[in-house]
Each structure stands twice: as structure tokens, then as C-alpha cells.
């Protein structure tokens, strides 16, 4: 067990670092924003990413993956954060493929996994119904009707939902059967997938299900404890989001330190002012603690299944809290230029806020962590 990357993982990280720096710099994200066209990411880039095997990195070999571990995929997310790269990696792979691998039948897996990993198809998870992440608060219902399932409900903030080939919808089953997952292909009658513009200009959808009829084969995992499975898959995504937040916050922090060294006021670099030095030093220390927390969450996914929930909540809470702080401080220390749209920092600020809220913010995960620790 180690919090550091092994050789294979280090190679992947370096490949991700140089590929994204070259092919998906922040300017590309700005262009995507200004174009404002679905799917809000670069499809050619996504195919290249899939061809390089990043989609397969964390999945086990029996799922068609490389088994390089979550630490490897975490490194990819960290560099996506650093460059604000828009990729449907979280939605289609970390949530979509990994849920399908855990919960799908042999037929479902065969139908989807290869296409998800080679980038020719995309899944999106339709889960949340509340403004604040609340995976237990599911009102969307699935009822049996003449050998079929009928789904009714509303889902919000569905990441990369626009243009996805199918949605995995989390619905409440009749009686006390708990929750169920259903694969709902795009275009199914009764399904509406509407775009929702957000501050990070990424692909996001509002979903309506009105009398959506599905066969039994649309249901995933009739056997398992769905709530537990959902939690396990969400924790993978939370760890990846924390890694992305870490990369994003580090990039903003480095821009800021550079600015503090360059920017001269009152005839000296503003980085020589002790008040700013102390604030910057505290951010640096916070980033070190966040990095350790993120590494531990990824390590837990790879090696300590019983520690995953706590480690993921720790990493996500710290990432949300510190990410917000770092970006707010970065803007303040940049002064006027920091609040202009022309300067990239605003794009980081907006994306960080979305990351912070997605799948639970600091308050959510502090609460969850306390419950996991019995208080």
C-alpha cells in the first residue's frame, strides 16, 4: 500500500499531463464556451482519449479495463482539472461503465462496455432530484405494468446527459423494494432530456420521465443492494472529482504565486507583503493536506474497500472546502484583472464551484463522515 504512484501510473500521469496541456489548454475550454454547442466537449478529442486507454485505466481486466488502478485514473482527473479539460470521463466511465460493470447482466455488459470504453457510446447517470446532492431523496418511481416497467419522475443536473446514448435512471421500486437502476435509451417515448446552462458551460441536462415503458431487460442488478452499490460507485466519482478539484486548485494557486512575484505595486512585488505571504503559505499547506486526502481516497478504491466511504468523503469535503477557498483567494490576490472575463481565472472559479457542489459539498460530506464514524 502506498499513497504514491507506481511506475505505470506515473507514466499515465505524464502522458495525461503533456497530452492535455497540448491538446486541451484552457483556451479550448473558452472556445467551447463561446460556441455554446452541444455536446459541449470536443468529440474528436474524446475519441483520442479513449484510444489512448484512459477510459479503461481504472476498470478491472474482466471489464475490458487495464487494471492500472484508480490512482492512475485520479492522475488523469487531476490534469483535467488543471487544464479545465471537458471530457465525459466521469459521466460515461466512472459512473456509467463502472455501474454497468458492477450491476449489469452479461448481456448488458456485452452490449455497452466495449462501446463505452472505445468512446463510441456514452452513458449518463440520472440520480439527483434536489438542489443539493441527496442520493437518498428519490421520488422518481418505477412500477410494474403487464410485464413492463413504467418510470415517472424528474431528474436534475444530469452530467453530460445531452447526447448520451442512454441514461441510467435511479428510481424507487414499488413497496419496500428500495431503489432500482434502469437503462433508458435516448429517444424512448416519454423521456425528455433538456439542456441546462450552467456556469461551467459543460454538458448538463434536466430529465423528465413521463410513463416511460421499459422491458425487464432494462433493469440492472435485480439481485444486489442497490443503495450500497450506488454509494460505492458514487464514491469512485467523488474521489475523481476531488482529484480534479486538486488539479484545478493547484493550477489556480500556481498562477497566483506567479502573479505575486511578477506584479509590482508601491515599487515592490506584491508577493513581498507579509500578509499575502502568510495567506499564500496557508493555501499551500491546505493543498498538501488535500493532496494526501485525495491520494488516500484513490488508494482506498484500489486496496481498502472498507475504507472507501470515509476516505472519499474526507477527500471530497476537503476538495470542496479548500477548492473554494483557493479560488476566492486567487481572485482577491489578483485584484481587478481577476474579475475580468478576459482572464482565465474566472473560468477556474466557475468550474470549481460546480465541482464543489457535484455529488456533495463540504457540509454534505462532513455530515456523512460523522455518520460513518458513529456520531
Amino acid at each position: 500500500m502506498s499513497l504514491l504512484l507506481n511506475e505505470e501510473q506515473t507514466m499515465l500521469r505524464e502522458a495525461a499531463a503533456s497530452f492535455l496541456a497540448e491538446r486541451s489548454p484552457v483556451a479550448a475550454q473558452r472556445r467551447l464556451r463561446d460556441q455554446g454547442r452541444a455536446p459541449h466537449f470536443d468529440e474528436a478529442l474524446w475519441r483520442e482519449v479513449a484510444a489512448m486507454g484512459w477510459t479503461a485505466a481504472a476498470l478491472p481486466e474482466e471489464a475490458g479495463g487495464l487494471g492500472a488502478g484508480w490512482k492512475a485514473l485520479g492522475a488523469v482527473f487531476e490534469h483535467s482539472g488543471r487544464h479545465l479539460a471537458a471530457l465525459p470521463l466521469l459521466s460515461s466511465v466512472v459512473l456509467g461503465a463502472s455501474l454497468l460493470h458492477e450491476a449489469g447482466s452479461a448481456a448488458q455488459r456485452a452490449a455497452w462496455l466495449p462501446r463505452l470504453l472505445d468512446g463510441s457510446a456514452r452513458l449518463a447517470l440520472a440520480l439527483d432530484e434536489q438542489p443539493r446532492h441527496a442520493p437518498q431523496a428519490i421520488a422518481c418511481r418505477a412500477v410494474r405494468d403487464a410485464g413492463a416497467w413504467v418510470l415517472d419522475g424528474d431528474k436534475r443536473d444530469v452530467l453530460d446527459g445531452i447526447g448520451a446514448d442512454a441514461l441510467i435512471v435511479v428510481a424507487r421500486l414499488p413497496g419496500d423494494e428500495g431503489l432500482g437502476f434502469f437503462i433508458v435509451p435516448a429517444g424512448t417515448p416519454g423521456l425528455t432530456v433538456a439542456p441546462r446552462a450552467r456556469i461551467d458551460s459543460r454538458n448538463c441536462a434536466q430529465v423528465r420521465l413521463r410513463g416511460v415503458r421499459l422491458g425487464e431487460e432494462a433493469r440492472l442488478s435485480a439481485h444486489a443492494d442497490v443503495a450500497q452499490l450506488l454509494d460505492a460507485v458514487l464514491d469512485r466519482a467523488r474521489a475523481c472529482l476531488a482529484a480534479e478539484s486538486l488539479g484545478l486548485a493547484r493550477a489556480a494557486f500556481e498562477m497566483t504565486v506567479e502573479y505575486l512575484k511578477q506584479r509590482v505595486q508601491f515599487d515592490v512585488p506584491i508577493g513581498s507583503f507579509q500578509a499575502l505571504q502568510h495567506r499564500a503559505a496557508r493555501l499551500y499547506v491546505g493543498l498538501e493536506l488535500l493532496e494526501s486526502s485525495v491520494a488516500a481516497a484513490l488508494e482506498a478504491l484500489d486496496e481498502r474497500p472498507h475504507g472507501v466511504a470515509q476516505a472519499a468523503s474526507l477527500a471530497k469535503a476537503k476538495a470542496s472546502e479548500l477548492g473554494e477557498l483557493v479560488l476566492n483567494e486567487a481572485v482577491q490576490m489578483h485584484g481587478g484583472i481577476g474579475v475580468t472575463d478576459e482572464f482565465d481565472l474566472g473560468l477556474y472559479l466557475k468550474r470549481m464551484r460546480v465541482l464543489s457542489q457535484t455529488l456533495g459539498d463540504a457540509a454534505f460530506h462532513r455530515d456523512r463522515w460523522a455518520r460513518l464514524n458513529g456520531f
Partner: protein, 396 residues
């Protein structure tokens, strides 16, 4: 009845007759009337009120009549103000030049300058903007680089200004320019008045992270400014600017009367804090909300206490710094809380599927980031408090 009492009675009666009812309500949103060559009225009452006050010469009630003013004595001016407050009358026009530049011109300007500039202001025909900040100066105003070279009876101005509010709608700018590049910092700067329609002036609105803004960049490319537009002595502009900035607080006070309405945090956050059965969903956020609201209350009380002290002529210390610091940081903290409380609802933006009310909160959150930077950053205010109020030594 004393002369002043007579004036009060007449004033009250005049206002009651001439100020339309809709002009006696608090200003919300963008209902301000900005005087100037391109003055716009959103309602007929706005126009009426503006024109009646202009006819009465009460756009500038206490300026000398020869410069377009109403010639009121200081006592009469106070009476007019108190009667307008009593009725809740709006400012008939907003005009940066009137509140910031005019007091300085009245004190330091030549007779010709007063004639040329005060009269149009008093008649609501000229809108002014301020040209102090520069792209590489920031909080260090004195490091400005826009230069003005003497060429016969003119200056030739080259350079750029930034953060100029409504630079795209102003008729004139008062600006600081460097007239002696050899002199150090505060020396070698002059205070000049620039016609925004001069050849070589170009204006570019600044887009902020929160969207469109009233701020502009203004560029000067060999702009000719007649020497008679120099206020104060050559290379002594710093003195003029310092005098002018003393009027900033009073001016800002007039603006905030009609500032953009801020969000009531409880009203916005309540639906998110409780579930459909009224049970508390977010105890941690509730405590934060209470904290934010209590801070706002303490701030309002401080405003009241320091105002009472000012009236009682007690010492108020670095009042402006404290108020600026606290108010802007409280706004930031409030919107941070609202963003957390609203979760996904706070991530909306203009575009498909957007909820306008939610986007307004998000936009206000982004805009609040500028408050702690603009007009003297929080760090500058803390420096001032440490040095001027606490008497801590200059240094490291």
C-alpha cells in the same frame, strides 16, 4: 417666522406640488436617471421631476447662480435636503461630476473652467467619468503611466485608463496624467479635463466574470487636450486628486441610496434549508445563515452608532475604511452561503433551461468578488486601519 422657516415652508410646498408620487419611492434596480447629453428617462415622471428641478436650478441647489446653481446658502441647502428626505424624494439626477469634480472645480478652477463645465452639469447636460486607475497601477494609483506632453497650447495624451465606470456614456472625463516623466511617482502628475469626443479617444466596455458591466477601458491615442483644461498647477495633480477623493465617501453614499437591491438571505435560503415537511435539512447551513444575518445586524448597528457619534461630534476614526471593509466582506460571505444553500440551483447561467431568479443570485455572487477589490481593496483598508487607527508603524 424667520427667513429660514419661510424658506422651509415654501420648499416643502413646492416639493409636494412638483415631485411626482412615483419619484418619492426608494430607487430599485436601474431606475437612476444619469444626467448628460444622452440622458434617458424610463418614465414620464422621471422626466418631469428632472426638468422641474432643472428649471428650479435645484440640480445644483447651492452652487453660485452664475455657474448655473440655485445659490442657496448652506443653511438653506440643509433645509432643502431635510425636506427632500422627509418626503422621500429621489435624486433628480445622478452625476459623478457633480458630486466629485464640482467641489474641486469650485475651489480650484479658473473662472473660465467653472463657466465651461459647471453650467452644463447644473443643467444636467454633461455626464462625467473618472480616469484615475490604469491597467498596471491597481491600488498603487501614483504609478500611473498615461502621459501628456506639452505641444504648444495643447497636451498630447497617450495611454490607457481602466475601471472607468460608464466610460462609454460619459461626455467628459477628469483624469490624472503624467506630465513630468522624470519626476518620482506623486510628483509630475497633472489633473486634466478631457472631452470624450476628442479624436483618438476610444472606449471598450469590460466584461466581468459576472457578465456585462458598467466598467470600461479608455484608450488615448495622441489625443489633443487644450492647456486651459488643466486644473490646478502643472505637475500638481496629486494635490487636486486627493481633494477630490475626500468627496468620494459622500458621493458613494448618494450612490448606495440607489444601489442594486441585495438579496435577503433568509428569504432566498429558507426553501433550501427545510424539507417539504418543514424539517430542518441542513443544520450546518442554518448556523451559517444565522451567523451571516447576525453579522449584517451588527454592521447596521455600527453604522447607526457611528452616525450618532458623528452627529454628536465624537471621533469616528477611520470610519470609511471600516464600513467599506465590513460591508463588502459581508456581501461576499452572504453570497458564499447562498451558493452553498442553493446547491445545483446556484450553478445556473444564462442559456437554455435557466431560472432567472437563480441566475441573479449567481451573478450577484460573482459580482460580490469585485466589491472587495474595487475602490480600495480589503487589504488597502486593513493597511489604513492598522496605520491610521491603531498607529502601528509603517514597514514590512
Amino acid at each position: 417666522m424667520s427667513e429660514l422657516e419661510t424658506f422651509r415652508a415654501q420648499t416643502r410646498q413646492w416639493l409636494e406640488v412638483h415631485c411626482p408620487a412615483s419619484m418619492r419611492t426608494p430607487i430599485v434596480g436601474d431606475e437612476m436617471v444619469w444626467g448628460g447629453s444622452s440622458v434617458e428617462f424610463k418614465t414620464e415622471d422621471q422626466r418631469l421631476w428632472f426638468e422641474r428641478m432643472r428649471e428650479k436650478r435645484w440640480l445644483a441647489p447651492d452652487w453660485p447662480r452664475e455657474y448655473g446653481g440655485g445659490g442657496l446658502s448652506p443653511q438653506q441647502m440643509r433645509v432643502l435636503e431635510s425636506e427632500m428626505r422627509r418626503l422621500g424624494c429621489r435624486q433628480p439626477q445622478y452625476n459623478l461630476g457633480m458630486w466629485m469634480l464640482a467641489p474641486v472645480l469650485l475651489e480650484l478652477g479658473t473662472h473660465e473652467q467653472k463657466k465651461e463645465h459647471l453650467v452644463p452639469m447644473a443643467e444636467g447636460r454633461c455626464r462625467w467619468c473618472q480616469g484615475f486607475s490604469e491597467p498596471n497601477a491597481g491600488s498603487d494609483l501614483a504609478s500611473l503611466r498615461t502621459r501628456a506632453e506639452v505641444d504648444g497650447d495643447d497636451f498630447i495624451v497617450n495611454g490607457a485608463k481602466i475601471w472607468t465606470s460608464y466610460g462609454d456614456r460619459a461626455d467628459w472625463m477628469y483624469a490624472l496624467v503624467r506630465t513630468d516623466p522624470g519626476a518620482r511617482k506623486q510628483q509630475g502628475i497633472s489633473f486634466v479635463l478631457i472631452d470624450m469626443r476628442s479624436p483618438g479617444v476610444s472606449v471598450k466596455p469590460i466584461e466581468l466574470i459576472s457578465g456585462k458591466s458598467s466598467f470600461c477601458e479608455v484608450f488615448f491615442d495622441n489625443v489633443r487636450v487644450p492647456r486651459r483644461q488643466l486644473v490646478g498647477a502643472l505637475n500638481d495633480g496629486w494635490t487636486v486628486a486627493k481633494k477630490l477623493l475626500q468627496h468620494e465617501r459622500a458621493a458613494m453614499g448618494k450612490f448606495t441610496e440607489g444601489g442594486a437591491p441585495s438579496h435577503d438571505p433568509l428569504a432566498v435560503a429558507r426553501p433550501f434549508l427545510f424539507d417539504e415537511h418543514g424539517a430542518l435539512r441542513e443544520p450546518e447551513l442554518r448556523a451559517r445563515l444565522a451567523g451571516v444575518m447576525m453579522d449584517a445586524q451588527a454592521f447596521a448597528l455600527t453604522h447607526r452608532r457611528l452616525t450618532e457619534q458623528a452627529v454628536a461630534r465624537q471621533d469616528t476614526g477611520a470610519l470609511a475604511s471600516i464600513m467599506k471593509l465590513v460591508q463588502t466582506e459581508q456581501e461576499v460571505a452572504k453570497y458564499e452561503l447562498l451558493m452553498a444553500a442553493m446547491g445545483g440551483d446556484a450553478l445556473s447561467w444564462d442559456g437554455e433551461g435557466c431560472d432567472t431568479a437563480a441566475v441573479e443570485v449567481t451573478r450577484a455572487w460573482l459580482l460580490s468578488k469585485t466589491y472587495t477589490i474595487a475602490g480600495g481593496s480589503s487589504e488597502i483598508q486593513l493597511n489604513l486601519i492598522a496605520r491610521r487607527v491603531l498607529g502601528l508603524p509603517e514597514g514590512r
